[in-house]
Structures are given as structure tokens and as C-alpha cells.
């Protein structure tokens, strides 16, 4: 269980994290999503005890990361950004060191190392020098050291960076599997990764939480941004108004342009109002269809554009 309360971190004059609060329970995989410099890595560094917060608190299983750093660190497996490791060692030597440092009982070390090497497909390079390994192998080695002591909490900073598509799928499957019995927080720039692996998303922007929940929940809170793409034919000599109301639904025309075939393309969305809370996108689409018919236009194409995590991300993390 991870509990973060009003966490803030300042590096000199830079406020990296501002008043961030969230909770993550066992069996959840949380994705921290945000542009570069948003504060994702700083939050992870605080949770792992690498940095202490300027204010607020971070608790791991009820223990403060500042007051009980060693107890907290025993419960956490951490893959830092870029998966640093000791280049002069081999994966086997490196994992042996980590096993000893993590106080894994001597009689269980060899079997545990073998197990994580199998899980992370490292067997074939186990005796090679780490500095000669590809980025993908080093990334998997970083993941292997993070899970070696079978921690209850996994914190993974961009875990699939540098992996090829097959390896990405393997590692995502491994994270999903680990997430069934552990608390996992991962940061990523890859939106598909969040949708593929995470049960919850926290979008971080300029050190603050910009949105939080499942991607569907975040989508629902922003459903006014669902849009329809229409292609119209008929008497369209004048431009359409930017806003109009039809059957008590307010619409806003976001974009309109004349196509080569003479048709008019419009991107249109409804304005989210309290009265619209229980109106389905399907009903809004029907209203829009009725409006087209009422105007005497001919509809040649109509497409409902659901708001995607990508749209939400772009919308929430736009500067300003």
C-alpha cells in the first residue's frame, strides 16, 4: 500500500512536485504519465527514499520513507530511469551482489537468481560483461534486480525503454502478472503502455496531478471533448455558426473546411452541461443526425470520435 499526502519537492528554485496526493493498493498497477520534467521521476525518487520531500508525506505500508528508510527500502523493488548497473560485472555477479545486499538467505540466492533470469530472459548473457550488453538486456537486468527479493511494491521508471517490440510485449505481460499480487507504479511516455498494463492512470503536469483514475473514468470526466466528424452535401454556401442549440443540446463547431469533392467537412462536439450528465453519446449522435436532416443537408459520412488517452494527455499537458 502506498499513500502519498500533499507531497511537494523543491530543487533549489525549481518546484518539481506540488501537493501531489494519491493512494495505491495491492493488486493495482498505476501508470504515472506526463511530459518530460513533469515530476514523475521525482515522485518515484521520493517513494524509494532516494530523495526526501520538501513537504507532505509518503508512506509505504504505513511507514514514512523518511523515518523508516531501511524498512521501506526492504519492501520496494526499484528500476531507476535508464536502468543503471555496474558495467564491469556480469549479470550473474551483479544479481549475486544485489541478493547479498538485499539479505536474501544464502541457500535461496542461486535459485532466486535463476528464477528472475528466466523471467527476464537473461540466461544467455549471464556471464557476459554488462557493459557489452545491449540496452534491452540492461533494461531487463534492471528489472531483474528490482524483482529479485520478491518485493511487495515495485516502482519502475520507464521499464520498457530500449526494448524491441517482442521484448516490450513480454515485459508488459510480466508487469501485468506481477501486478496481480503486488503494488506497481510505473512511469512512461508511452500512452499505449498505460492502456495495456495499468489499472489506473495519474497524469502529472508541471508537478501537479492533472487527472487521476482509470483511463475510462478520465475520459468520462472529459466527455464534452468527444467529437463527431461529419461530411455534408447540399446548400452550404454560408459557413456554419460556431455554436448552435438543437433539441436542447448545445453544439460547438470546432473545425469546418471545404473538401475537394465540394462536400463540407465539420468537426463538431456537444457542450457538456449538467443536464447532459446522463445522455449517452449515441443519443447525442442521433440529435446531431436530426439536426443535419432538419437543415436539409445530405449526410455522406458520420463518425463518432471518442476521446482517447492521447487526446486527454495532450489536452491536459498543453502549456499554460
Amino acid at each position: 500500500m502506498i499513500e502519498v499526502h500533499q507531497l511537494s519537492k523543491r530543487y533549489g528554485t525549481v518546484q518539481a512536485v506540488r501537493d501531489v496526493s494519491f493512494q495505491v493498493g495491492t493488486g493495482q498497477v498505476i501508470g504515472l504519465l506526463g511530459p518530460n520534467g513533469a515530476g514523475k521521476t521525482t515522485i518515484m525518487k521520493i517513494l524509494t527514499g532516494y530523495h526526501y520531500p520538501t513537504s507532505g508525506s509518503a508512506l509505504i505500508d504505513g511507514l514514512s520513507v523518511e523515518e523508516y528508510p531501511e524498512e521501506v527500502k526492504k519492501r520496494i523493488g526499484y528500476l531507476p530511469e535508464n536502468a543503471p548497473s555496474y558495467g564491469d560485472l556480469s549479470p550473474l555477479e551483479y544479481l549475486s551482489f544485489v541478493a547479498e545486499a538485499r539479505a536474501i538467505p544464502k541457500d535461496k540466492r542461486a535459485s532466486r537468481i535463476k528464477q528472475v533470469m528466466d523471467q527476464c530472459s537473461l540466461q544467455e548473457v549471464k556471464n557476459k560483461s554488462i557493459e557489452t550488453l545491449s540496452k534491452g538486456y540492461r533494461q531487463r537486468l534492471g528489472l531483474a534486480q528490482a524483482i529479485l527479493h520478491d518485493p511487495a511494491i515495485l516502482i519502475l521508471d520507464e521499464p520498457t525503454t530500449g526494448l524491441d517490440p517482442n521484448q516490450i510485449l513480454e515485459i508488459r505481460a510480466l508487469i501485468r502478472e506481477l501486478g496481480k499480487s503486488k503494488t506497481v507504479i510505473l512511469s512512461t511516455h508511452i500512452l499505449q503502455e498505460v492502456e495495456a498494463v495499468c489499472s489506473q492512470v495519474i497524469i502529472i503536469h508541471q508537478g501537479r496531478i492533472a487527472a487521476q483514475g482509470t483511463s475510462a473514468e478520465i475520459g468520462r470526466t472529459l466527455k464534452g471533448q468527444d467529437s463527431w466528424h461529419l461530411e455534408l452535401r447540399g446548400n452550404l454556401s454560408e459557413a456554419l455558426p460556431e455554436r448552435f442549440v438543437f433539441n436542447n443540446v448545445s453544439f460547438i463547431v470546432q473545425n469546418q473546411k471545404r473538401l475537394e469533392n465540394g462536400n463540407l467537412f465539420i468537426k463538431i462536439s456537444h457542450i457538456d452541461e449538467p443536464a447532459m450528465a446522463n445522455v449517452s453519446p449515441h443519443a447525442i449522435g442521433e440529435t446531431l443526425f436530426d439536426w443535419v436532416v432538419a437543415q436539409g443537408y445530405k449526410l455522406t459520412h458520420m463518425e463518432h470520435q471518442k476521446v482517447s488517452l492521447e487526446d486527454i494527455f495532450v489536452q491536459l499537458t498543453k502549456e499554460g
Partner: protein
């Protein structure tokens, strides 16, 4: 301060293993042996002295340590920070003392091996004269204690530096200063109290009694306390970085 934990030993073993696999370590040992031997046999002309003593051999130890110790300790923290592995170490269940002691032990072992390698000199010279074994033991104890304090200081500089080069240069400058502080008192006509203070702060000054064959408990205590002080400051540097 906590005692030596299994985590410290694990880290010390890993560090020592890496050092023994690095050609630089063998270069450092070769430099130490060559510098001491050339100074002793050629510059100080040991065979012309007609005296069964290794004092000239140990008299250059403070000076050679100013280069040797930073070369051993420069990687200690600076390299970890540069490659990002400091983040791994500091997020493993090590206390700051575990980390500092682990690093210190491995660097000290490199120094101990360097000193052991010099044993060939006394053993090859014993048949040539009536050497005082007690004095030589005292000289080695002094060299070890002086080295301990210097390693702790060099390691502290490595934790403050951003890269190995600045750790090395910073270590050389500061070690030169603390080793040779007592030289000021002989070069300049300083008030007695100031001269006493400078002498007391000089590591080389406390080494002189060992070089004369005297195991002075005050000097032993001085080196132990100075070592602990530098190691303690090193733990505070690690802790401070978590807040900064």
C-alpha cells in the same frame, strides 16, 4: 554509528572485486612500489647511508599518499553518481553508515595490499644489517593509520565531487595541505600556539612518532578519531543530498 553489517561487507566485496578486475588498481600499486623504491634506493642512496634503518623509506609515505590515496578513492562515489548507480545503492536497504563503511573498507584493503607489497623491501634488506623489527612494525602501523585517515578524507572528497578527475584533484590538494601543514612551521617563524595548532592538524606530524618507532597512543587515537570524523561527514553528505 552502527557496527559492520553484512550489507557493508557485501558492498566492500563487490567494490574490491571490481578494483581487482581493473588495470588501474595494478597501475596504482606499481606506482607506489616504484616511487618508494626509486626514492629510497636512488634519491636517498640507501646503500650509501651505512645505516640499518627504513626511516628514509617511510619518510616519503605522507608525500606519496597525497597521490596514491586520491587515485584509490576518486572512483568511490564520483563514479557511482556519474553512472547513476548511486541511485541503486541509496535505494537498497543500506544505512548511510553501511554504504560509507563498505566503500571505506574496500579502499582500505587496496591500501593494505599496497603496503603488503612493500614488505619485499625490508625482507630483502634484513640479511644486510641489524634492522630493528619493532621500529619497522611501528612504521607499518603508522603507515596504515595515516592511510586510514587519508582514505576517509579521499572518500569524502569523492562524495562531494561531480566526477573522478575533480575528486582526484580535490583529494590531492587537500591531502597535500593536511599532510604537509607541519612543514609551514619549520619554514615560517610562526607564534608557538599557531605552530602547535598547525602541527596538531597535520596528518604527517602525527606520523612522525611512528616513523621513529614510537607507538604513541595519542597519535593512534588521533588517526582513529580523524578517520571516524571524515566517515561521519561522508554519511552526512549522503543524507544532505536526499534533502537537496
Amino acid at each position: 554509528m552502527k557496527g559492520l553489517s553484512s550489507q557493508s561487507i557485501a558492498l566492500a566485496k563487490k567494490e574490491l572485486y571490481s578494483a581487482l578486475n581493473s588495470p588501474a588498481t595494478y597501475g596504482v600499486w606499481a606506482f607506489f612500489l616504484l616511487f618508494n623504491s626509486i626514492t629510497f634506493f636512488y634519491l636517498q642512496k640507501f646503500f650509501s647511508l651505512d645505516s640499518a634503518t627504513l626511516r628514509p623509506y617511510f619518510s616519503v609515505i605522507p608525500l606519496v599518499y597525497t597521490l596514491l590515496i586520491p587515485a584509490i578513492t576518486m572512483k568511490s562515489w564520483a563514479e557511482e553518481r556519474k553512472t547513476g548507480t548511486a541511485e541503486l545503492l541509496l535505494t537498497m536497504p543500506f544505512s548511510e553508515w553501511d554504504l560509507v563503511l563498505g566503500k571505506f573498507l574496500s579502499s582500505l584493503m587496496i591500501l593494505v595490499i599496497a603496503l603488503v607489497l612493500t614488505l619485499g623491501v625490508p625482507f630483502s634488506l634484513f640479511p644486510l644489517g641489524d634492522f630493528d623489527g619493532g621500529v619497522i612494525i611501528s612504521e607499518y602501523v603508522g603507515a596504515l593509520l595515516l592511510g586510514m585517515a587519508a582514505v576517509a578524507l579521499g572518500q569524502l572528497f569523492s562524495s562531494l565531487a561531480k566526477n573522478q578527475i575533480s575528486a582526484f584533484l580535490g583529494g590531492v590538494v587537500v591531502l597535500l595541505a593536511v599532510m604537509l601543514l607541519n612543514q609551514l612551521t619549520s619554514l615560517m617563524d610562526l607564534p608557538k600556539i599557531l605552530a602547535d595548532i598547525l602541527n596538531y592538524l597535520s596528518l604527517a606530524f602525527h606520523f612522525e612518532s611512528f616513523a621513529r618507532g614510537i607507538l604513541d597512543s595519542r597519535d593512534i587515537l588521533f588517526f582513529i578519531l580523524v578517520t571516524l570524523l571524515f566517515l561521519f561527514i561522508n554519511t552526512r553528505v549522503l543524507l544532505f543530498r536526499k534533502w537537496s
